[in-house]
Symmetry: C2
Subunit: 405 residues, 2 copies
């Protein structure tokens, strides 16, 4: 049986980023850029006033003072009528183009406008005046032809503004992976039904769909397949149209566990079956070759805790890789056990816990299971405490690592 690291590396080797697609700006938030973005314009596209005030020739103001003739009035969106010459000033608003010839903008509070005569004049008193003041020169932020965003970057909200600034309303990004979710088992009925004798509702399907969404994937609920070769083959075939297929149940070694066989018959090559991990040992992983990169197939154990652990350790990193995201170590915190823990068996164990704050410390409370199918207790978990293989007894107050959910 292979270890967790080995299993993850075998998964990631096969999780090649999806073929880039052109997406609209508003669809591209959080997606990973798959091209270099180059500006089609200088930005700002003209010398731009950064304050409301008057555009002047700085050298006209000896000691910061002077009286100038106001020849024009330019708001944002306007174009100055004529170039500015010595002795003249143009009233200007933030964001408006500075007239040719001007080299400084004096803020309004330092200017006194006099419109009593035939020609309005402005008296200025700004001791600190210097050329370039309150002007952002054309192309200072971005030059035409310059790269503004590199490929490989997950697009942020600010990037959306930057893309708009350089005229990119469509960008090439790695699309969200689509992920089929198929629950298997004769005992399952859809959540909208009332279970009959011996039946339970399919809760893994909705949980896995929601986990896929939370991991940036696009879930496709394929429903339930009963444990017959024909039904499994039909539903698995539907699921193989997506980038990833997640099966729940049918991979442990019971008499009715047909799933691995049906997958093989459908051309899905097994990469591994079984990982040294608790819970989650029966995890099955395989690929079906495909022109756009292999389809990944995960067979998760049917019990929800095992399914969750396998999803977090293997499926979530795979979905990030398919989306072109950089692999990041999972967020974890150290914390002190509130009770002793005895590790049974020799597999590394991920145990659902609740975190509590006590002053500066994080306390780790092991959740009290009623067995592996106990979703209700699982819903209270804040994270998974990690107990590596090779140790059996953990004391109260010992520090352990908790992966955050």
């Amino acid at each position: 049986m292979i270890g967790i690291e080995q299993a993850l590396s075998w998964v990631l080797e096969r999780a090649t980023p999806r073929v880039p697609q052109r997406e609209s700006l508003c669809q591209s938030l959080g997606r990973v850029l798959a091209e270099e973005v180059i500006s089609d314009i200088d930005s700002p596209p003209f010398d731009k006033a950064l304050m409301d005030g008057f555009a002047v020739v700085a050298s006209d103001l000896r000691g910061g003072r002077g009286e100038l003739m106001m020849i024009d009035d330019v708001a944002a969106g306007d174009v100055p009528c004529e170039p500015l010459q010595s002795g003249m000033a143009t009233r200007i608003m933030t964001g408006a183009p500075v007239p040719r010839g001007a080299d400084a903008v004096i803020v309004g509070e330092r200017c006194q406008l006099d419109t009593s005569g035939d020609i309005p004049t402005v008296r200025i008193d700004d001791r600190d005046v210097r050329p370039g003041q309150n002007i952002l020169r054309r192309g200072m932020s971005i030059r035409r032809g310059e790269t503004v965003l590199q490929a490989g970057r997950p697009l942020s909200a600010i990037d959306a503004g930057l893309l708009a600034e350089v005229g990119r309303t469509q960008v090439l990004v790695h699309p969200q992976p689509s992920v089929a979710v198929l629950a298997t088992g004769n005992e399952l009925v859809p959540a909208c039904d009332v279970p009959g004798p011996g039946q339970i509702r399919n809760s893994n399907g909705p949980m896995l769909c929601a986990l896929v969404s939370s991991a940036g994937g696009q879930p496709v609920d394929v429903g339930i397949a009963r444990d017959t070769e024909a039904e499994l083959a039909q539903q698995i075939n539907r699921g193989l149209h997506e980038d990833v297929l997640i099966l729940s149940g049918g991979v442990s070694t019971g008499v009715l566990d047909l799933v691995p066989r049906v997958l093989r018959d459908l051309g899905v090559e097994q990469v591994f079956h079984g990982v040294c991990l608790k819970p989650g040992k029966p995890l099955w992983f395989g690929v079906r070759p495909h022109a756009k990169g292999p389809r990944l197939v995960f067979g998760l154990p049917g019990n929800p805790v095992s399914g969750l652990v396998c999803f977090e350790l293997f499926v979530r990193p795979a979905l990030a890789a398919l989306a072109g995201q950089p692999q990041r170590p999972r967020a974890s915190v150290p914390g002190k056990l509130t009770g002793a823990y005895r590790q049974r068996g020799d597999r590394p164990t991920y145990y659902p816990v609740r975190l509590e704050r006590q002053g500066d410390q994080t306390l780790v409370r092991l959740l009290d299971w009623l067995g592996s199918a106990d979703l209700r207790t699982l819903a209270q978990a804040d994270g998974l405490a990690v107990f590596p293989a090779g140790r059996t007894d953990y004391e109260t107050d010992e520090t352990v690592t908790v992966l955050l959910l």
Copy 2:
């Protein structure tokens, strides 16, 4: 001019959670539950086998040993044919109902099946056998009529599984707030156009729409309004159909800043105009009364850094409140300045920075602005360093707080 705390509390007082709506399970991820969820069934709905093996009467096994008659074979989804009596065993699979009369399940590895005779028998050797072993009793996880999720809870992926388990494919949640985004200014052209003389592309609109998405809101792009009363009134009216309207530009004190007047004429009551904050001083906030809770209107300054700061400090918390989310302090980290900083003016300042790791330390590098319109530099920011009012000089290596973006 009011302070940041005062302004935020005035915003939050008016940001009442949206009227709950019934949503499908897959639409409800991340939404806040607005009802108590009660189970319609016991879970598990029957005494359930937790392992593959044989269901037995524990007292039949003296010292853990015995030979029993196999009378039935039950898989998950099956119903046992007959109750179990002393001396008998039923082969059983994980998830299957334990037959009446049985009180323990012995794992398969401890059982030897012999089918050579007329009636199959099973020889068992399990020293640790005890009543209740490997059985999850009916209703042990959840009792019918019991509350499984409380109102006020943001729904997680695991909750989705739990909701499915208790048959809730529709739940009452506070919906995402809808947020109209309107950029104002004569100089603006849509991002898909090439700006003419004096014009720039509308980058604030797409940035704000993306920020709204990142804050769990549903952005509605209302486009651009030029600085005329008629056009502003028309577009603002469209925006007032949504829960929130965010305007960008038109709220500082320039000649063309018509926005506050037009808002008043449309029945939007000003709550405040101006906050002691840098950048972001011109922030305008008001409400229009509405049967389902007041429409919130934010007038953000037009420069992108100011807009971003105002969004993070006021709009994001408001959107969380409208979605019924608990208010959480924003994630922040301490870090050491890589250079000196001189605070100008007396307003608390939020300054875009880049964070770098150096061993155990977080370094805070102030970004080198080219002026307030410089989105390109802003796109490199990891967070906003907070410089409270009342101090002017910060030295290299001083520790400051950084709000993470």
